[in-house]
Structure formats: C-alpha cells, structure tokens
Amino acid sequence: MSGGRNGYMLRRMVVKGVNGATSVGRAQSEGLPGLPGVAAVAVVVVAAAVLRPVLERLLDRPAVAHWATVFVAIAVQAMPFLVLGVTISAAVAALVPAGFLPRVLPRRPALAVPVAAAAGAALPGCECGSVPIAGRLVARGALPGAALAFLLSAPAINPVVLTATAVAFPGRPEVVVARLLASLLAATVVGLIWVRTGRDELLARARRRREEDGPRLAVLVATAQRDLLQAGGFLVVGAATAATLQTVVPRSVLDAVAGAGPLAFLAMAGLAVVLAICSEADAFVAASLTQFSLSARLAFMVVGPMVDVKLVALQAGTFGRAFALRFAPLTLAVALASSAVVGWWLL
C-alpha cells in the first residue's frame, strides 16, 4: 500500500540495496536498511568528499555562499529545539501508558481545545520542537483538534518568546499582550474548526506511527531516533526552501508595499512564511521593520510561528502531505484574521 507514496530520490537506491542483500522483503524495505544502508551512507560521504573542490568553487559565488550559510544556519539553529521536542515526544511514548492521555484530557472539544492552546505556554522553545510533540499526542489518542491547537500556540506564547518580544519592543507591553491574545485566539479557532469540519483521516500518518515495544529505555531511544531522522529530514527540506526564497526574493520587493494598509498586512504575513525565522527571533526582525504598521508587524509575529515554509515541511512529514495542504491555508487565514482583530483592538 505504500508503494508509490514517497517519491524521494534515494528510495530506489535504498530499496534496491536491501533487496540485493537480504530476503526480508517488503516489511524491511519500508525503513532504512541495515548493513547495505551503512555502506550507502559511506558512499554519499565519500562522494561529497571527492566533490569538495567543486563545492568550494561554488561557494566562491556570493549568491551560492549566501544560500549555503542561511541553509546551514536554519538547520543548525533548529537542532537543539528539535532534539528537545523529539526527547519529550519519545518520553511520552516510553513513559506514558497507552490510553492514559484520552482518559485524563478533557473530552468536550469546547474545553479541550482552549486548554490545549493555553498549555502551549509550558513548552519553551520554537516551532521545530512542538511538531513531534503534537504528532505524538495524536498518535496517543488525544483529540486531534486539541493537539493541533497546542501545535500552533506553543511556539508563539511560551515565556521565552514573549520575553523576547518584550525586549524587542521596549516600552510597548501592548505588543506582547496583543501577540499572546492573537496567537491564543488563532490556535483555539483553528483547533475548533478542525474539530467541526476537519478530516481526521488525513492524520492517518500520525496515527499509524509505529509504537516500539520493549524496555522503556529502548523505546525511548528507538522513538527518538526515528522521530529525529524524520523531522530532521523535513527540516532540511524546509531550510533549503527558506534559504532559496531568501536568496532569490529581495526583501526590498516587500518593503515596496510597506505603506498600503491591507496590502502591507498581507506582505508581512508573506514575509513571515518566506523567511521561516525561529519564533524566538522573529520579534527582533519585526521590531526592525519600522516602515510597517504595528498591526502588520503583529501579523508577522502571529503567522510566523504557525505557518512558514520550514514548518509546513515539518508538518507534512509528521502528519502527511494531504493534511499540510489543507491545514496551512486554514491556519494562515485564521492567523491573519485574528491579528487583524486584535491589532485593531489593542494597537
């Protein structure tokens, strides 16, 4: 059933390697292979080493060097947060008994979704960490709408991000309040919309996640390893996309529309999606874009932690592409509306 699902370049090579070496057949070909896989990793590394002069010549071009630096920077910057998220996700898998979460979490969506959105405040870090955790919550039977509300709110309303926002906008506490309220509102509304009209079957990938069995420590390591590779791979896709957009699209294009009201609003949201800045840093960028109104900059800070190219790649990897294709536009629309309302009210 999984035959044509993944069109990744390496698939062919990997599958061939496995079939050529052992007779474990289809079940084995679903994952990274054993010893032939080790050889394949070695081949890739050696090939890269041989191509080193070519890489070095490429880096002599300023645009390529700029791309490579931004690409590596996003990947490196995200790793500690990804490791934190993966560790928490793995700890839930290893330590929380199956069936425990649905039992203790509120059942009524009207309560569960806002509670989950508010619970996002407890996870310090940026958006890369919350994706594997939300995936684990769904796998463990939490109400999907609630898990998604948590996914959206955690990177935006945790104390680290709010403190950074306060530092970036000195003497403007209303910006911090507006960010908190607009993010909570957007996360809750998206969660409730998902409960009413969402198609939970799109979350099949997260639900299907293999649960390891065995001693707790073994489960912890095995789950962490699998989540890390999966999320890490999609992080690479997202980082490459963001770096490409940053290199190709000059920011001055967006600055040109700074003046006009609704257009500036959309431009800031677009900028947030394209730049894929860590939610701990986006307030500083927003603060520096003084040519835009405070409301437009609020949209930048509300949209960024919920929808950006890196995050959509991570969500596609964890929950499935069909899910991400519906979820990202829905979230973008709600986040924009929420920041418009809160911005108009508070700023």
Binding site: Y8, G34, V44, A48, L59, P80, R209, R210, R226
Partner: protein, 229 residues
C-alpha cells in the same frame, strides 16, 4: 531502527559537536547557543550510537524481528546528509556583502534613547556599528563630542572616495540577519569587498541616509570569531 539511521544520527551529532568545539558555529547562530548545540550534539550522538550498535548486534536476526511496518517516511532522513556534507567539507562562510544590498537594513531609530556623551580619551572608543548609528541619529551625533571611535565590520561596497562598512545584527541565526551600514570617508584606499577591517575615526555630521565616519586609519583584519553584532 537500522544501522544506517544510527550512522546518520551519529554524523549529525558529531557535526554539531565539532561546530561547537571549533567555534565555527558563530558563523551561523549567535554565540550564546553554543552550550545548547553541544548538549544536542551529545544527545544525538548517544541515540545514534545506541541505535547503530543494536542494529549491528541484531543484524542477523532482523527477519524475525522487523515485522512492523515503518512510518513510510523515514527515508527523508537521508536528506540530513546534505548539511552534514556541507559542514564537514566546506563550512559555508559568514554572511557577506551579498545580502547587504538585498535585505532591509536595521532601523537605528528603534530603541535608541538619549545617549550618554562619550569621553574623549587618548584611545579611540570601540563600539558596534549599531551604537555608532544610534549616536549619529541621537541629536545629530552630539553625544560623540568629537571623540575618536573604532568600528569593526566588512566592506560592503565602494563609492567615490568612500566605502560602506557593514555588520549584521542577528537575534537567533543567520536567517534573521539584518545589516547595519556606515559610510566611511577619507580612507586612503578602499579595501576589497567583503574584507574585514577595523576603522578608526570621528563621526561626521550630515551624512544623510547613512551615518558617516571620517576615517583616520583603516586596518585589514581577519574575520572575527563572532562576525555578528
């Protein structure tokens, strides 16, 4: 999980640790993240090593063991080899002048209040480009009081008899970098683009868009350990 996956994790962790130990990570993220990168690196190394050893130990009995269907999505982990290869082999440079002409520059007015006057001493006062810009903006540079200052940055382009000195501000990583730019006038010759320099001189009022420094001395230096402000 399998040996190849373990090996990839091991490589990821090693690269993270190596970045921290060599200080190269300063090109990509702010220096304060060093300890977190090191912790993440060690954690990933442990996970990768355990996975690798277990996979190798069980290699011969995988037939019996591996009945589960995998997530169907794990091969995407191979993509991690791309940044690993980039970092192990070539280590992309710090951001240079390419981005200065393209991105929005830092607005020096954000957060600048009334600044304390500088004390003119025997030695020039080293300061960030941001502080220089803020002082220049504050009451038309009154707080300089004619004191000599020293700025360090890279050359972002030449103009007639002058060059633009730039340095990026980063909040988290190079993806959010925004440049601060100062125009340096009166240097005897203009150093090559993207070369790092330390410039000594005095603030010159009336620079217009960019704050201006009248240079008395321009020295080329190697790129500093923390290339960002």
């Amino acid at each position: 999980m399998t040996a190849a996956g373990g090996l990839i994790s091991l490589l990821v962790g090693t690269v993270l640790l190596r970045l921290t130990l060599t200080g190269t990570y300063g090109r990509y993220v702010r220096l304060g993240m060093g300890p977190w990168l090191a912790i993440a690196g060690v954690a990933v190394i442990v996970v990768g090593l355990v996975t690798l050893l277990q996979a190798l130990r069980h290699a011969h009995q995988e037939d019996a063991h591996d009945h589960h269907r995998h997530g169907g999505n794990e091969r995407v982990g191979w993509l991690l080899l791309a940044p690993i290869a980039a970092l192990l082999l070539v280590a992309p440079p710090t951001l240079g002048s390419y981005g200065v002409d393209r991105g929005a520059t830092v607005d020096i007015r954000a957060g600048a209040g009334v600044l304390d006057p500088l004390v003119a001493g025997a030695e020039p006062t080293p300061m960030t480009l941001l502080e220089f810009g803020q002082r220049a903006f504050d009451r038309d540079g009154a707080s300089f009081g004619g004191a000599a200052v020293q700025l360090t940055g890279f050359v972002a382009g030449a103009e007639e008899g002058a060059f633009r000195l730039a340095r990026y501000q980063i909040a988290c990583c190079a993806a959010d970098a925004a440049p601060v730019v100062v125009r340096v006038v009166g240097g005897r010759r203009v150093p090559a683009r993207d070369r790092w320099v330390t410039v000594t001189g005095e603030f010159r009022p009336g620079g217009g868009e960019l704050p201006e420094l009248a240079a008395t001395n321009v020295v080329e230096i190697p790129a500093p350990e923390d290339p960002y402000e």
